[in-house]
Amino acid sequence: MKEFFQSPKIKIFLSVLLVLIMLSVFTRNVENNVISTTLNTVTYGMSKVSAAASADSSSKGYDELQHENELLSKANRELRAKLVDYYNVKEENTRLWMFYGLKKSHEDYTLIPSTVLRRDTNDEFGSFTIDKGTASAVSVGDPVIGENGLIGWISEADAYTAKVVTILSPQTSIGAADNATGDTGIITGSAKYAEAGRTTFTKLNSENKVKEGDIVTSSGASGIYPQGLALGEVIEIGYDTYDSSYYAVIQPYDEIGKVLDVAVIADFEGQGEILKKESDE
């Protein structure tokens, strides 16, 4: 045993460990750090191919595909057109039109459509990596939307990929308002509800009038998220003995654990203005 502690192996081990600890400290929360950019560049192609293959295979079941195939064959005969992947294209088109519709109604939004590149076994709050990074003007803090509303924000970004922390995570803190009653609070995730794909609307006033079925949207109070993005629907009201306040359980409109196509709002009118004002004061 004594020989082991004097052997070159232990010196190599300790040196490697020291380097890893230093890298861990110096690369944490650093945008565009060399390690993540290099590793993501190496794995990007592989993840892109497997994500595309998975999207193709998981989007439709066998029966549905067979039925679709029959319909397409029939349509082919009738119309004499060669539209082999018509329905797949149509489905994708519908998603893109949704983002286009949002862009039309909010002309100030700079939207960057992206695809979920990978999810990890450690994705306890549904966090995922997208295929756009700082090279596409994505930056840390940008809001991320799904087909039906706000689903998260960019926590880390390198040149070609970015990490999205979802509204199911306790790391999230979004100013929100109940559209029906005007009550305001904070949207933050909870380990208790994340499992069921739900988040919480916390810090509600003791005289709040929030009720089941109300729609909760972003308040835009901090200038980090645009105002009026749907976050979900109230399904339950509770009282938190931990911080003596009321909260509501929110069911997001998107199935966050399964979402495949998202868009990053890289810029919008009023972004960062309130924070800027506060820092000026």
Partner: protein, 172 residues
């Protein structure tokens, strides 16, 4: 085949295994969740390689598996890289010098290593930041992930045992 060629193909097999498990673990929609969690396949590969290889190769495989695991979660080196590097080095040393890695002994190594790894992860990710409802998360996810990782590592033990003995004539 020469010893050098054997070693080359053996390590190539381990690296391919790691890449394949990385793709399987991170691709959306491939691996189904059982009882709220998925197994950490890269941990299975790293541990089963560590019980056959010597300390330094075991440590390197552990480090690669850890970096890939952390990469899936965060864009920086974190708890999995550091803990898997340490655990694989210790397992590599222990299996070569203290307790030979026969199947039953391997189960003991795996139980201790997987338990330690996920408790450390839980400490860093939940206990230190003071996440609310952390214990409900522990029972709903972490426990299941620990058990699944342990169980999934058994076929990897036999696979890597086969690779090790086939491509390392001295060991036979």
């Amino acid at each position: 085949m020469s010893d050098r060629a054997n070693s080359f193909f053996r390590y190539l097999a381990y690296v391919l295994e790691l890449i394949l498990m990385f793709v399987l673990s991170t691709t959306p929609g491939i691996m189904p969740e059982l009882f709220g969690a998925k197994p950490a396949l890269l941990v299975c590969v790293a541990l089963t390689v560590a019980v056959f290889e010597r300390e330094i190769p075991a440590m390197i495989i552990g480090m690669i598996a850890g970096i890939l695991t952390d990469l899936g979660y965060s864009n920086s080196i974190g708890v999995f890289t550091i803990s898997l590097t340490i655990i694989c080095f210790i397992v590599g040393y222990a299996a070569n010098n203290l307790i030979v890695a026969k199947f039953l002994n391997y189960l003991l190594y795996a139980a201790v290593a997987v338990g330690l790894l996920f408790m450390l992860y839980f400490l860093v990710r939940f206990i230190i930041p003071g996440t609310r409802d952390m214990w409900s998360y522990f029972t709903a996810h972490i426990l299941s992930r620990m058990v699944q990782t342990f169980l999934y590592s058994i076929p990897f033990y036999f696979l890597n045992r086969f690779i090790y003995f086939s491509l390392n004539p001295e060991a036979g």
